[in-house]
Symmetry: C2
Subunit: 326 residues, 2 copies
């Protein structure tokens, strides 16, 4: 193969990580730049180009890149743009695929959002290998999702399908969500949702808990996890509450696409049985009878440090957009 | 084309309707038999075969059938079987595709469930022509759904995807559903759900209503419709309640597949603005911001008398299963 590598780029709110990946999913080398250093998008692209070229030169790979795959918040697969991202400084619409392809002399580029990139990575290199129907759920600061149906990512008619963090799990008196609505899954089952549950439980209830030794407004999901591991009963109940809501929401997702598995990724997914036991119990109990015992709940098999780049890179193999003016 | 027709078969709880359909979606001729007359499945197939052959002979079409498409409750596209249907007399597993293909000398057969057949019909001949992403919702005795993503029906890993009538719309004190769970969409937004809402409202509330002239246990959704059309305030509120719940549920569906349209079919869908106004209001209000103003709510464009047969017949063009022992 004349071009044996793809470039994976993961644009996060803080860092932009990029790596050279081969066809077996090995990350040959990777590096990163600060995402927010330049408020001018062209300056950002120039720095990204410099960083990538250094990496390519160091590995004798300048002419070996088949395509570039990019995962970005609100990245749109159809248009190659970043559209109205909540935490990036470059304005409402950024022509990401065009600018990157142009900077790299017309190399094909494909763009998607970060959760879709994670799903692609899992399908190509991780726990979803061989699966044609699965749902990837990222449990981080928020709740993201990438949905695969019949072997293809679900983009919807506008490129924005798969916002399962924003299905409504509480119709009355639901928590206010960052999206401006109330009762969203993300307001309960993200890392920040767990911290909110902790604050609610500590205020409403009276039992002792080692969480009461902390400043209530500073409590994080990590604090709750540590307390639960140390045997704190209230902290365990916070995980029960989180897992129960998550399991109910997953049951509704199964009624949509009947996936072979739901695969969890992200910090909160590493809570082990504290989360998985109530989650699986609630999930099976909530399923429409025809689906019971069929859909697995699995953890991502990708190394977290590589996952974002791997996921984005998987898109590089099928990248089609190519800047023509070079 | 040597075989210019397909046969569409719609197996309902009461009648089995079948029709000869041409490539433009014209129903050349149709007839029906009683579904429940024979408890022995082979006897049922023999009668279906006789009825179809009579129709084919009368239209000189015996050797002109490209394929047979069948919509049936719990029809499984992957296996060609009917699996655990709630209202059919032939036992838990019926090898429908095999028996039909055998009876018709090896003609290719494809099977799916009734709501998926309706979605296919709409995509091929109705309101979803040209759409690659849409959701078909049938509002009848129950609530059924057929989901199309990227131009393909969503079957899921087991063939049973798309039971959106059984997503949970009320988590606490939800109504008992026919599926054994509580709070399902179907328990609220089907014809029977509307009748249940009427009984609840009449019991809990004290306002006058012409519905109070009826035996409360006999009230149907048709009665509620007639009362609302006559200006009955309580009856209108029943439609407001139904439309509001339906709109909230639709907003969650959009977060999954971001469809171009949600298309309504079935008796309750013919309630006009009584249902559509509260439905659309609640839908837009409940949508995650990125989706607002993008997804249409439409009514089916298929003639109800032809719709089921047309939908099933659309599957006949791509039917692949063929009984080999003939």
């Amino acid at each position: 193969m004349s071009k044996p590598y793809v470039l994976g780029v993961d644009i996060g709110g803080t860092n932009t990580v990029f790596g050279i990946v081969d066809a077996r999913g090995q990350v040959i080398a990777s590096d990163s730049i600060k995402t927010q250093k330049h408020t001018n998008f062209d300056d950002y692209i120039a720095e990204l180009h410099d960083g990538v070229m250094r990496l390519l030169n160091a590995h004798d790979a300048e002419d070996k890149i088949h395509g570039i795959g990019i995962g970005a918040p609100n990245g749109n697969y159809y248009t190659g743009e970043i559209q109205n991202p909540p935490n990036l400084p470059w304005g409402p619409i950024v022509p990401l695929a065009e600018k990157v392809s142009k900077a790299f002399g017309g190399v094909p580029v494909a763009v998607t959002n970060d959760a879709n990139a994670a799903a692609l990575g899992e399908m190509t290199y991780g726990a979803a290998r061989g699966m044609k129907d699965f749902i990837m759920i990222t449990l981080g600061t928020g709740v993201g999702s990438g949905i695969v149906v019949n072997g293809q990512l679900v983009y919807g008619h506008d490129g924005f399908a798969g916002e399962l963090g924003h299905i409504t799990v509480k119709r009355n008196n639901g928590r206010i969500c960052g999206c401006g609505r109330t009762g969203c899954l993300e307001a309960y089952c993200s890392a920040t949702g767990v911290a909110r549950t902790a604050r609610e439980f500590l205020e409403i209830r009276t039992e002792p808990s080692i969480l009461r030794n902390l400043q209530i407004e500073d409590i994080t999901s990590k604090d709750v996890y540590d307390a639960a591991v140390a045997g704190d009963k209230l902290a365990k109940e916070i995980f029960d509450y989180t897992g129960t809501i998550l399991g109910q929401a997953f049951a509704d997702m199964v009624a949509f696409s009947s996936p072979q598995a739901i695969i969890l990724f992200g910090g909160l997914a590493k809570s082990g049985e504290l989360l998985m036991r109530p989650l699986k119990e609630s999930f099976e109990k909530s399923l429409f009878p025809i689906y019971r015992g069929k859909t697995k709940i699995l953890l991502s098999e990708l190394k977290e440090s590589d996952a974002a780049v791997l996921g984005a890179s998987a898109l590089g193999w099928e990248a089609k957009y190519r800047y023509e003016g070079v």
